[in-house]
Symmetry: C2
Subunit: 447 residues, 2 copies
């Protein structure tokens, strides 16, 4: 193999192009949209992402972690905003462990600029993938600027074209390809907390702010310019929903009752609410992730997940890490590389999809629950005492490289233990006692 195509110049596509170029491949990257470095970023879709350890590992491989760190804002924990304005803080991990707020657009631009430094990499914009003939591995594109059909053949195709992947749609027409897309009944809308006049942040920039409200929630992540991107996750239909809250009066009334402390922070709330789109949340799973040695799926094309674990991009970057490690291990045995990539990653893609769905309930509901906060404190304490026996699930997912599928299993086991511990009479008083710690130790070791 020598000449390969990457379809989709998003985060995962650009990173994969760099990793492939570093191994000596000639890489053509095709993107349906115009070059985002020349285009204006879409209003209402500012989108920031939480970069964590799995993402950093892949960026390290590409040699650009230091540059990205400059545009990343560390968040050391969650800050919960109660209706009455009470704030509760919960650290994500150990001291100094953080997830990082980054702008999708900014990160994508950096990755593209770095890729451009490689003579092996060429970018082609406004190229919509229409079809692939897997017999000759010929991709048919429409050049939407010139309104022309372009056909190109490659030794292999890396499909990083997102949740609605055109390459995957082609793979889907072959027998034995399993696929599912499943929408949440909740959608989301982006709002904004602008900076203070001096450019500073109006609230603590070093945490992820959550307004947990049981059936729904609002969150805020800091941007470099002093603003916050705010996201309201809310039912699409029903009594309290995007469908029902449909006039300025209703929005004002709803926010005053539900998120009163946010009102002074969001002067353009009403404009933003009505001008920004309501977006849906989809989970995509499929199997296998390869089509022979002709194509592999990576990132959202393979595993679109809901955003509640902050792992969508990180999981995609880990796909790149795993593929790179397989190249390292198996050299030019492409049959093994492609089939092993699929065999290894499909269960992890399914696991992070499940974890993300479960975490929505945790974020919107449990983070406001004293029992939940106590659980986290007990786990933190025990994990500090017995670091080899217990890593809290959030840390496994966010601050480790344990396979997602293993983390999901261990997390379920730990939950069983904590369910029992929380039944202890007087647990709120003696949660950090030797008795409790010893009981957990015993259970954790019989694992």
């Amino acid at each position: 193999m020598q000449n390969v195509a990457v379809v989709g110049a998003g985060l995962v596509g650009s990173l994969q192009a760099i990793l492939l170029a570093k191994r000596g491949f000639k890489v053509d990257v095709y993107e349906r949209r115009p070059d985002l470095r020349k285009a204006e970023i879409l209003a209402g879709r500012s989108i920031n992402l939480a970069l964590s350890d799995r993402g950093w590992k892949a960026l390290d491989k590409a040699g650009i972690s230091d540059e990205i760190r400059k545009i990343a804002i560390p968040m050391f924990g969650r800050k919960m905003h109660a209706v009455d304005g009470t704030l509760t803080y919960q650290p994500y991990g150990k001291e100094n462990q953080a997830i990082f707020s980054v702008s999708r657009g900014g990160l994508n631009q950096k990755l593209m600029n770095l890729a451009d430094d490689y003579p092996e990499i060429g970018y082609y914009f406004n190229m919509r993938c229409e079809d692939i003939d897997f017999d000759s591995n010929t991709i048919r594109f429409t050049d939407t600027e010139k309104d022309q059909i372009v056909e190109k053949s490659y030794d292999a195709v890396f499909a990083t074209d997102g949740a609605f992947s055109a390459v995957r749609n082609r793979m889907m027409k072959y027998p034995m390809f399993d696929y599912s897309q499943s929408y949440l009944s909740h959608g989301y809308k982006e709002l904004v907390i602008p900076p203070n006049e001096d450019g500073s942040h109006k609230i603590d920039k070093n945490c992820l702010h959550i307004w947990p409200r049981g059936e729904f929630m609002m969150i805020a992540l800091a941007n470099l310019d002093g603003s916050f991107t705010v996201t309201l996750f809310f039912p699409m239909e029903g009594e309290l929903s995007f469908a029902s809250i449909d006039t300025p009066e209703k929005v004002k009334d709803f926010f005053e009752k539900t998120f009163p402390d946010s009102i002074p922070l969001m002067p353009t709330l009403l404009e933003d609410y009505f001008s920004n789109p309501t977006s849906t949340l989809v989970t995509v799973r499929c199997n296998p992730w390869n089509h022979g040695t002709q194509a592999v799926l990576m990132g959202d094309a393979a595993h679109a997940v809901v955003p509640f674990y902050g792992q969508g991009m990180n999981a995609g970057f880990e796909d790149c890490t795993v593929f790179d490690e397989l190249l390292e291990q198996y050299g030019d045995d492409w049959n093994t590389i492609f089939s092993e990539y699929s065999r290894l990653r499909v269960p992890d893609g399914n696991a992070i999809a499940d974890l993300a769905l479960n975490n929505y309930i945790e974020m919107r509901d449990s983070t406001a629950d004293p029992d939940f906060l106590l659980r986290k404190k007990i786990e933190r304490k025990f994990s500090d005492l017995y670091p080899n026996d217990w890593m809290p699930l959030y840390e496994q997912v966010t601050f480790s490289h344990i396979r997602y599928s293993d983390a999901l299993k261990r997390g379920q086991y730990q939950r069983g233990i904590m369910d029992e511990i929380m039944q202890t009479e007087g647990i709120y008083e003696k949660w950090d006692s030797e008795e409790i710690m010893n009981r957990i130790a015993e259970k954790a070791k019989t694992k």
Copy 2:
């Protein structure tokens, strides 16, 4: 609404066209393939289906049950063929209850001929649906004979275009449309038992023959010409699989060891095995089944199921029944008709998909198990004694019009009771005693 399109002239499409014409709609039926009444039937795809009560009900509505009965062969039970040649018989229901072996091609032709009698119905063949613009409800077809694009607009579109529905693919691109396709690891291949020289059947035509072998099975259904269509359901890959049994010697050896009594019945076994295709088995689920009042999905386009309950076509015909009843009930309130159709039928589609998957294990494995056969005898006896308290699951699905989703639930409840009863000491001796019947009665009534 006045002008409607049916996309797909298969069994469900043709029946739906008739039912719509009976209610005064002008119906254009489009079919991707040539008119099957003029084309030769594909070799190796003879396909016969088991028509049962849900199917008959819809045919009654269309007024053609009597005609279909002429080309249907009743099967009153299963006949299991053990490796040593022992035959075991198990009736499907009460005396005279039967499912009916019909040829897909023959039934489809009958339905099309009947539809042609309606001046309201027009058939258009060699028309491949490419796309639908739901704003104007304009369907774009390629006329594959003339190699022309044809566009036509309709008040509503009935999509009966099968498991790989083009209409559904278009609906899938809209937000909030859930979809999954999932392949069994087993596939199938059709073989044949030819008639005797005098045109008679070589084995009993009035039962469904099963060669249950644990991990796989073979079945045979009678045709009118004295032949049987035989289907081998078998793993696609693995030690014993279509992939591994790949030479005439291996096929011969495998059949001699596994299905010895079938060898003298199938003189063309080796030719058929290698010339007939190996086909895959897919389950398709989606939600919703309507796109506004523009389109609804029916039959395999909405719910492709594996064939092990013999309900694929019957479920599709029941879709037609339910839609017709909604037209009856709600007149021209199309919003209600379309959304109610989806709301009512999606859970039933999912239920029959589950039932069909479960029944594969029952057919290939349990039918060779004495415990299973005893369970069926106990259920039969109890059901005859207390017909209001117990209808065996198979009868609910096959010989009733109970919603599939209700049947699935009741079946699970009944299974729990039977699991307990089967634990009884000496159950093989006293299975039909008053004691056992009373115990079931007690449990069934606390339901």
